[in-house]
């Protein structure tokens, strides 16, 4: 990747020839690991027995998912949506809070795999596979809520433009229908991207397989991939095209989710800042979730040489950056509500924040969101905090919580204090609400654990590609540097001489 560090002065001046300065590429994989080591370490996770901790996470998560999602939704469908805490004024309540929360989580995966690919950020290769998996599982969790929120879930097929006996067609002018298209496209494209990226790695597992069942299963999944350059060239083009398609797609998805709010005439929602604010928040929350998952995973499976402190440092910086964007959006929204002189808009924000207003039942949620999303990431300005895994993990957890509260603040506090004082209510989630949400957390974790168990959790081919030795012109480069009397430097300015790739 392009290093931002500037050239440094050579330390030794007592040489005859003028020493040219060369800034070495920073190694993304530590300890000069060989190609075979990388294959072995990553495929080994799939081939060996899972550690005890895996079972300790998988079994409770699967149980929680079965009771929460399975049981909660069965009760909901057999009784009616009245078992949720939603009421006449708070018709969206927790289900839509959870929907926006989960869909936002997914965005980091596509950001890492698409946007960082187009901007040639090669450090993405160690984390993109797991982040894409996370995207897909998060979108699965998200999809549950709007599907059941339609009330009669067996009528959910009405969302699709299919000719029906009533001769009724969907309203394509509605952001809610745009959302159906955006989310389903996002899920499908993410799944294709994830799968295409995985084919060469599945072939690696196939070729190492000792038993017949595994050989057959991974043989089918890898589609007979042979790794010939006549395949790679189409594969690389497909990857590039999908990255180029996913980049505007990921930005569009949360933009359209924000249109659900922004195109309404509800004070507190009807603002133009919503699309960029939602997208920044989604990336922010998504990276926090990537860190929450990857820090334990790298420890559990001994992947420290592949997912290095540099990766964690980079992700922490992205969290700090997007956290500032989100903070700016919060404050700008508040400022414009005051500066815009629209008394309804200001009333909505006064009741949300408690500024000059006694009737602010949800001010606690607002300040919880502010603390978690705006203050917590500020720790990442300090290098020590980005290097300390406990601090990184703690901040990531706070951001996960904060991002849920952001959606709660936007949806619940606004709907609880809309136009008519007669409609004003306080929202209480019902036990079924809580069960379903906790159930989706269990489902997300259980699916992620199954992913770790059965699929290569790091992109083997791409990690190999980023090794310094994979550059076929490396020996010529080294030779040319020697001829010119060049001296190599690391980013810190330390003379290192010739590096082994």
């Amino acid at each position: 990747m392009a290093s931002e560090a500037t050239t440094t002065q050579p330390a030794a001046a007592d040489v005859k020839r003028p020493k040219l300065e060369v800034l070495e590429r920073e190694e993304l994989i530590l300890n000069n690991r060989s190609l075979a080591w990388i294959t072995d370490r990553i495929c080994g996770i799939v081939e060996n027995r899972m550690p005890l901790l895996w079972w300790l996470i998988f079994i409770p998560s699967a149980l929680v998912a079965m009771i929460g999602v399975g049981g909660g939704l069965t009760y909901l469908v057999s009784t009616g949506v009245g078992v949720w805490g939603n009421n006449n004024s708070l018709m969206w309540g927790w289900p839509i809070v959870n929907f926006v929360f989960w869909i936002g989580i997914g965005h980091a995966g596509t950001l890492i795999s698409a946007i960082l690919f187009l901007t040639r950020q090669n450090w993405r290769t160690s984390i993109n596979r797991a982040a894409e998996a996370m995207t897909i599982f998060a979108v699965c969790c998200a999809g549950i809520f709007p599907a059941f929120h339609v009330g009669r879930v067996w009528m959910a097929w009405f969302l699709a433009p299919i000719p029906n006996a009533n001769a009724i067609w969907q309203n394509f002018k509605s952001p809610l229908l745009w959302d159906v298209f955006a989310v389903s496209t996002y899920f499908t494209v993410s799944l294709i991207f994830w799968y295409i990226g995985m084919v060469p790695d599945l072939a690696s597992i196939r070729d190492r397989a000792k038993n017949k069942i595994r050989k057959f299963a991974y043989g089918v999944l890898s589609l007979g991939w042979r790794g010939g350059n006549r395949q790679w060239r189409h594969y690389e083009m497909a990857y590039l095209l999908l990255a180029a398609l996913s980049t505007p797609l990921v930005l569009s998805v949360h933009t359209i989710v924000s249109f659900d709010f922004a195109t309404s005439v509800v004070p507190g929602w009807h603002t133009t800042i919503f699309p960029p604010y939602f997208v920044a928040g989604a990336i922010f929350g998504g990276f926090a979730m990537v860190l929450t998952l990857m820090i334990p995973v790298r420890k559990l499976f001994g992947l420290e040489d592949l997912i290095t402190m540099k990766h964690i440092d980079n992700m922490a910086k992205i969290i700090a950056f997007t956290g500032c964007l989100v903070g700016y959006a919060y404050l700008m929204e508040l400022f414009i509500a005051w500066y815009g002189q629209n008394k309804f808009e200001w009333a909505a924000f006064a009741k949300r924040t408690g500024l000059g207003e006694d009737d602010a039942p949800y001010a606690w949620a607002y300040y919880c969101m502010m603390t978690c999303n705006v203050l917590a990431p500020q720790f990442f300005w300090v290098k020590w905090c980005r290097q300390n895994l406990w601090v990184v993990m703690g901040v990531a957890m706070l951001v996960n919580i904060g991002m849920w509260f952001e959606r709660f603040v936007i949806i619940v506090t606004t709907l609880a204090r809309m136009w008519l004082p007669g409609d004003w209510q306080y929202y209480h989630p019902s036990p079924v609400d809580i069960m379903t949400f906790v159930g989706t957390i269990g489902m997300f974790l259980a699916l992620f654990m199954l992913f770790l168990r059965f699929l290569p959790c790091i992109n083997i081919a791409e990690v190999k590609w980023t090794l310094l030795s994979s550059n076929v012109h490396r020996d010529e480069l080294e030779h040319a540097k020697e001829e010119a009397g060049a001296q190599s430097f690391e980013a810190g300015g330390q003379a290192i001489g010739k590096k082994q790739g």
């Binding site: 009724i168 002018k173 589609l223 042979r226 350059n229 189409h234 497909a238 076929v472």
Partner: protein
């Protein structure tokens, strides 16, 4: 079914490093072979030129996939909103001037059909899925997805010769040169 008849697929030679494979590929290209391929566990930058291959044709197909998505969305939205079921909601009339409201779905379907074309186009161009292949007969070829670098020259290439091709592969630095045969 095993008939006991074997058919020669071609020669397979192994190379130590990506650089060695890259340099050998350029020599195979210059020798004039056409039915051959170089195998590695990761895409090697610059290998397309070393093998004398042009740019992938995939974007050409994806363009039409995307266009099909766009026209599907236009037809779907105007067809249903203007002709089949016109309704005036959100003060938006049921005519051409409502087009801004139709942009999101146009965009999404363009992306969706482009992505499908990318997937199926990639598979078609690289002739996948193909679960059986003569190269899988070779034991050492399992390393192609691990840390091996291989060149295989097929017997159906007009320049293929049982002795000379073997010598040629050894000459350009190939080791473990192996005649791969297919069970018929």
């Amino acid at each position: 079914m095993n008939t006991g008849i074997k058919k020669v697929y071609g020669y397979l030679a192994r190379f130590e490093t990506a650089t060695a494979l890259y340099k050998a590929a350029a020599k195979v290209r210059d020798k004039g072979f056409k039915k051959w391929d170089s195998y590695s566990s990761f895409p090697i930058h610059g290998m397309d030129d070393a093998m004398g291959l042009g740019r992938s044709k995939l974007p050409f197909f994806v363009f039409f996939g995307g266009a099909a998505g766009l026209f599907t969305a236009i037809a779907l939205q105007f067809g249903t909103q203007v002709y089949l079921y016109p309704t005036v909601v959100q003060a938006k009339p049921a005519n051409l001037f409502t087009i801004p409201a139709y942009f999101p779905v146009m965009f999404e379907l363009t992306v969706l059909l482009s992505a499908f074309t990318t997937l199926f186009g990639m598979l078609a161009l690289s002739q996948l899925p193909r679960f059986n292949h003569p190269l899988f007969e070779s034991k050492q070829f399992a390393r192609a997805t691990d840390d091996g670098f291989f060149i295989a020259i097929e017997a159906r290439d007009p320049r293929f010769n049982r002795e000379q091709t073997k010598e040629f592969l050894e000459e350009i630095g190939g080791t473990d040169v192996e005649l791969v045969e297919e069970q018929l």
